[in-house]
Structure formats: C-alpha cells, structure tokens
C-alpha cells in the first residue's frame, strides 16, 4: 500500500515536470504568427472593400458635374445625358414605399410589443396569431428580393392590372422593407423603460393614450432609424423594381407611370448600352447616398442611446 502510493506520487511528479517543460516561447511565437495572419486578413478585407467603393467613386467623379445631375437621360441605346429623372423617380418611389410600409410596420410592431405581453390576451387564438406574425416577419426578412419582384409582377402588375408602374413597384417594395421597419420599431419600443408606461397608466390614461403620448415619442428616434434603413433598402434595391417598375427613363407623371431608379439606371447603362463612365457616375452618387443614410442612422442611434441614458 505504502509503496503503491509512492509510485503514484513519483508518476505524478513526472507528469508535472512534463507540464512545466511547456515551451513558453513557442506558444508566444504561435500566437504572434496567427495574430499577424489576422492582421493581414483584416487589412486585406478592409482594402478589398475600400477598393470597390473607392474605385467606383473615383471613376464616377470623372462623369459627374452639375449637368449630369440636372439633365435627363437621353434614352435609347445612346447612354447619353444625365440622371435627373432617375433621381426624381428614386425619391418618388422612396416616398411612396415608405408611406405604405411605415403605418403598417409601426402598427404591427406596436401590437407585437405592447399588446402581445398583455395579460388580457389569454386566448389561445391570439397567442397563436402573434406567433404566426413573428414567423411571418422572420420569413419575409429571408426571402430574396427577386421573389418579391415575381410576386409584385404576378399580383400588382398582372392580376390587379396596375401595370409596370410606381404603384406596383412601391407595393412590392413595401413588402420588402416591412420586416426592417417592424424589427427596428420593435427594438425601439422594447427599449422604452417599463416605468414610463406604468407612470402613465397609473395616472388613468388608457393604453392607447399611453402609447401615443409616452411610448411612441420616447421610441421615435429608433422608429426613424428603421424608416431610414428602409430608405436605404429602396435606394439600393434593383431586382424588385426591374420586374415591376418598367424602366422608362422619363419623369413619372403619376403613380401609374413607369420609371427607373438610379440603381436600375446604372444596370441599364452597364448592361444595355455599356456606357460604363455614366454608370460609374451613377454608382458614385448611389454610394454617396448610402453613406449619407448611414451617417444619419449613426447620428440618430447615438441620440437614441444618449436620450434614454439621460432620462434614466
């Protein structure tokens, strides 16, 4: 027994010695090697992304002048002219899409956040519907845009006979951005402290009064962030509008007119007329718009967090 313990002890000492011999400098060298690789990888990633945007902006600015911005495309296969009408169409389409999607999306989010946790909703039916709705939002967020385009083409363009028009395109676009608005609004509502609601309800306000007077104002920057994100989506989307908007380069006269957004125009310029310089110009304007939109979002979200911190 005694000797058994002894051998175990000796064996243990040997193992510990083995561990103590561990080569510290090798381990540090391994770390340095891999960290170097990670640095290189990180730099390459940034360079690639910079190269793409930098190239387009740099090349694009050769084509951009005031004339480019304020003259309409000359149409046909010439690729001549500017992009004024496509800027107009983009703005028109953005406004329409947002006007359709915002009330629906914000309303949906209010219901999902403010009423779903309600104790009054004990009915299994409603709980099931809320589950369905969440499933719907998640599914919509994952559907590729060309499917929205096909859907818009089948329902709005053909079945409802809206034709290739701003109306068809904005309805299809609204389906595309709906999950964006619902999700960001939900997040914004969830960030409003519970005490706000309780304070208002305790003063005898109804639920809707509480939401309208207290919850919505507090979550407004978050909701606006969602809307601006959607604006970005519409500005950069192409596939949906390629199959619903028609592609006329003229300024739309009504919501039943066909048109082309900047992104669509870029596609036509590159593919149909091979007018790459003009396409680069349009691309540069698109990138700048997206940068602007991102700056706005960063500014707003900083204000949102600062605001909530300030009142807490």
């Amino acid at each position: 027994m005694m000797s058994d313990n002894k051998t175990i002890e000796i064996q243990h000492e040997n193992i510990l010695l083995q561990q103590k011999k561990s080569n510290l400098s090798l381990r540090h060298a391994t770390q340095s090697a891999f960290f170097t690789i990670l640095w290189i990888g990180g730099i390459i990633t940034v360079l690639i992304l910079l190269a793409v945007t930098g190239y387009v902006i740099f090349q694009g600015f050769k084509a951009i002048d005031l004339q480019f911005l304020i003259t309409p495309p000359r149409g046909g296969l010439s690729g001549e002219g500017g992009i004024s009408t496509t800027i107009g169409t983009t703005l028109y389409l953005v406004l329409l899409t947002i006007a359709i999607a915002t009330p629906l999306g914000v309303g949906a989010a209010i219901f999902l956040v403010e009423y779903a946790s309600d104790n009054n909703i004990s009915s299994r039916f409603l709980k099931g519907m809320i589950g369905f709705s969440h499933f719907g939002v998640e599914t919509l967020a994952g559907i590729p845009s060309i499917i929205f385009g096909l859907f818009g083409y089948a329902l709005f363009v053909s079945t409802m006979k809206f034709g290739f028009s701003l109306l068809s395109a904005s309805l299809a676009g609204a389906c595309l951005v709906l999950p964006v608005i619902i999700r960001t609004t939900e997040e914004a509502l969830l960030a409003v402290p519970r005490s706000y609601r309780e304070g208002s309800l305790a003063l005898g306000a109804t639920k809707w009064q509480t939401i309208r007077k207290v919850v919505l104002p507090a979550s407004l920057p978050g909701i606006i962030t969602g809307i601006i994100l959607s604006v970005g989506r519409v500005v950069s989307e192409t596939a949906v509008f390629y199959v619903t908007l028609g592609g006329s380069y003229r300024m739309p006269k009504s919501i039943m007119s066909s048109g082309r957004t900047m992104a669509l125009h870029l596609y036509y310029l590159a593919m149909d007329t091979r007018a790459f310089e003009k396409a680069m110009g349009t691309g540069a304007i698109l990138i700048l718009s997206i940068i602007l939109i991102n700056l706005l979002i960063n500014f707003l979200s900083r204000r949102l967090t600062a605001g909530l911190r300030g009142v807490q």
């Binding site: 960290f35 590729p144 079945t159």
Partner: protein, 297 residues
C-alpha cells in the same frame, strides 16, 4: 370617458390587423408563386424541369438543372473565397484590433453591407472580368462563375463578418477570463474557448451568407455571362469549370420575365418556387442553429 375607451378598443383591432400583414404577405407570396408555377409543373413535369439539362423556351424545353447548378456553384465559390476572410476579419475585430481601428472599421463594414448590388456588379464588369479574362484558357471570356463568385464573396463578406463578430462578442467574459487565468495565451483562448462557444453563431452567420448569395440577382446577371448551358470544365483541368459562363435561378427569372408568356412565364414562376424552397431550407436551418445557441446560454 366612454369615447376614449371605444377609441382604445378600436385602435387595438386596427393594430392587430397590421400585425397580421406580414404573415398575410408570406401567404400571398407563396400562393401566387405556386399558383403561377403549377401550370409549368403540370405541363412540363417536375422531374423534367428539375433534371432537364436543356433550357430552350422557343422549343418548349424547360430544364433548369443548369441554373440550379449555376446557383449552387457560384454560392460555393463565394463561400470558399469569402468565409475565411469574413471569419478572420470577425476574430480580428472582436479580439485583436485596437479600439481605434475597431471604431473605424465596424461602421465601414456596416456601410458596405448597404451598398447596392448593382454597384458591385458594375465593379465586377469593369475591373474583375477583364482580369479574369487574362487567365489563358481557350474560350475564357472573363464573364462566368469565377468572376461571379468573387463579386458575391465581396458582397456577403460584410454580412458574415458583422454577424460572426457579434457572436464572438457574445461569448461571456467569464470564459475568456477563466482561460487566461489558467495560463493559456490569448490565441489559445480564442481557439479553445471563444471559437467553440461562438460556433453556432458563426455557423448561423455563414448560413445567412449562403441565403444572401443564393438570392442575389442583378450583380450575378452582370458578371456571370448568363449562358444556359450545363457548366463543365473547359480543359482537362477541372478548375476551369469556374471559367464557364453560367446562369443563376435568380438571373433566369429576371432576364426572361419581361417577355415570357404562357408556359414559359409559368416556368419562371416555377423557377421561383425552386429558389423559394432552397432559401426556406437555408433560412430554417439558420433559425434552428440560432435557437440551439440560445438554448446553450
């Protein structure tokens, strides 16, 4: 007093209806795509469509196997090229980069995720395609799976990197501290504790990237060449497969929908059904992985 109670109740119903809109849209999308596609499945036959190698609408040959392969091959190419960089970038940002660099790079990546796909496509046409054309293989036009894979890899890189970075950041500090306190190096901690703990989040990020790759349309049309032939190697070297022109499911829909009629139009909706099913499988598996991850923490 009474009116505001009535308003309160009315508002609740209105909001309920808007809350249902998303599921209604999903239902409508499924309904319309399938309804329009069913004619093709009936007249052409599901098997003939899915496994048919020839797409010649003029002669009523509607096989989309070449497009299915095109979509899958270009996605594989994008994943192979993009994922290592994206994951490396995520580890770099979350663990290695100094805070100053993080503060600049993170919003830049967020920005790049929002750049229109046509811009990436344009860059591909003007810069990448001429480069690929320089590879000396007979018949190489520059347009094709390789150029498309590279463009797609760059496009999905920001998405995967930012989601993977979130997953790495979500690993509890206590794991990190526990490992360092045992005398593991930072690198050992990353490899042995942090990455395994973030694994499901990273897999979910990759799957979402796959979803985005499969669904990308315009940029693919611009650089892939849109040939409807079955992709095959151009020489004895099997890698020349990626120099072939091809067409994706998404591209097939977008290119032909504006002039297709009758059965031809229906087959495009059927193409949409195939794409829809593919994407749903991908998304559901992503959600499954995510849920598993929530169960662990």
């Amino acid at each position: 007093m009474e009116t505001r109670r009535i308003v309160d109740r009315g508002v609740k119903y209105i909001l309920f209806i808007s809350a249902m809109i998303s599921i209604v849209i999903v239902f409508l999308i499924a309904l319309f795509i399938f309804r329009e596609g069913v004619e093709a499945f009936n007249t052409v036959g599901v098997r003939t469509m899915l496994f048919g190698k020839v797409w010649r609408p003029g002669q009523e040959q509607y096989g989309i196997l070449a497009m299915i392969l095109g979509s899958i091959l270009v996605t594989i190419g994008a994943i192979v090229l993009g994922v290592p960089l994206a994951i490396g970038g995520a580890i770099f940002l979350a663990e290695v980069a100094p805070e100053g660099i993080q503060a600049v790079v993170r919003p830049a990546i967020q920005l790049l995720a929002g750049i229109p796909s046509v811009v990436y496509g344009l860059f591909g046409m003007v810069v990448l395609v001429p480069l690929v054309r320089k590879i000396p293989v007979p018949g190489n036009s520059g347009f094709g799976l390789l150029a498309a894979s590279i463009v797609l890899a760059v496009m999905i890189l920001p998405t995967i990197a930012s989601i993977a970075e979130d997953a790495i950041r979500a690993v509890p500090q206590s794991y990190r501290q526990g490992s360092l306190a045992l005398g593991a190096t930072h690198w050992q901690t990353i490899v042995n504790v942090i990455m395994p703990a973030a694994r499901s989040g990273i897999i979910a990020a990759i799957i979402l990237g796959v979803g985005r790759a499969l669904g990308e349309t315009m940029a693919m049309i611009m650089v892939i060449g849109n040939s409807v032939l079955m992709p095959s190697p151009m020489t004895n070297n099997p890698l020349t497969l990626f120099l072939r022109q091809a067409r994706t499911l998404t591209g097939n829909i977008a290119v032909e929908i504006s002039y297709a009629t009758g059965v031809h139009e229906s087959t495009l909706f059927a193409t949409g059904v195939v794409l829809f099913v593919l994407i749903m499988v991908v998304n559901i598996s992503a959600r499954f992985v995510m849920r598993e991850r929530q169960a662990i923490h």
